[in-house]
Amino acid sequence: MASQATAWEGGSAPYAVPSKKLGMWLFIISDALTFSALLVAYSYSRIANPKWPTPFEMYPAVTFSTIMTFCLLSSSVTMVLAVSAAHRGERGAAVKWILATMAGGLAFVILHANEWLHLIHSGVTPFHNPWGAPLFGATFFTLTGLHMTHVVSGVIYLGIVATGFGRGRFESMDVEVSGLYWHFVDLVWMFIFPLVYLMSVHMG
């Protein structure tokens, strides 16, 4: 601190966080609203349609989506461990934990792609499905597709951060900011999983 600049001169940090972190938080809030809008659109279509399909069996669909939830939750834990290793200055350990996080994300994507293929083979397209309200496919694929896009970009983002941090080009704050993004992707799934899968378990 060179001098006691006033708040108007940019001298104080009202949130006491670096601007990278504040930027990521603002992105997360706007992205959270995008996902909320898609979840509300899905729920609106579902409420409005008496013949909404409930195609998911406890096995395989719910079992696999539970394993996917486990993958994401566990990858969040490995991510916080990466962040705390990074802040302690243990670069090797941090990179190792980030790689574990990426593995969890990849497992999620593979299982989810498998789930998509299963639905596509049963005849679900964006505007048609064999069971009832045609909008099921459109809302389902948009919602889970955007989430899968976030997981894939998250894995790429973490790969870049791991490489850069390992080589000493990034600081521990960059790891923490990428961690914020990763936890957000996990957080969104905590709403998609119950609303899309658990609420649509096939009856009888």
Binding site: L73, H183, V201
Partner: protein
Amino acid sequence: MSEQHGNRIYLTVWFWLLALTAVEVFLAYKHLPVHTMLVLLMSLSLVKAALIIAYFMHLRFEKSSLAWTLMPPLVICIVLMIAFSFPDGLRLFDMRKG
């Protein structure tokens, strides 16, 4: 910063998140009535979201002005979306049913 609390708290949070997920899956297995399911699942998911935001995303340990700036607008916008669309969805449901 994270040096002040050990990694143990994260593992505890992870355990609770997994436990709450197990409860959710069990509820789905029990085939409860759809309204009961919705209320229970959303309440559990809100608890899980709060745990993730507070501990994994570290918001509990930031200056409180950050949380007060970020969270109320988010909550208000989501509540508005729900308040505008769900009554209309129910209206359509009643029209189509009859």
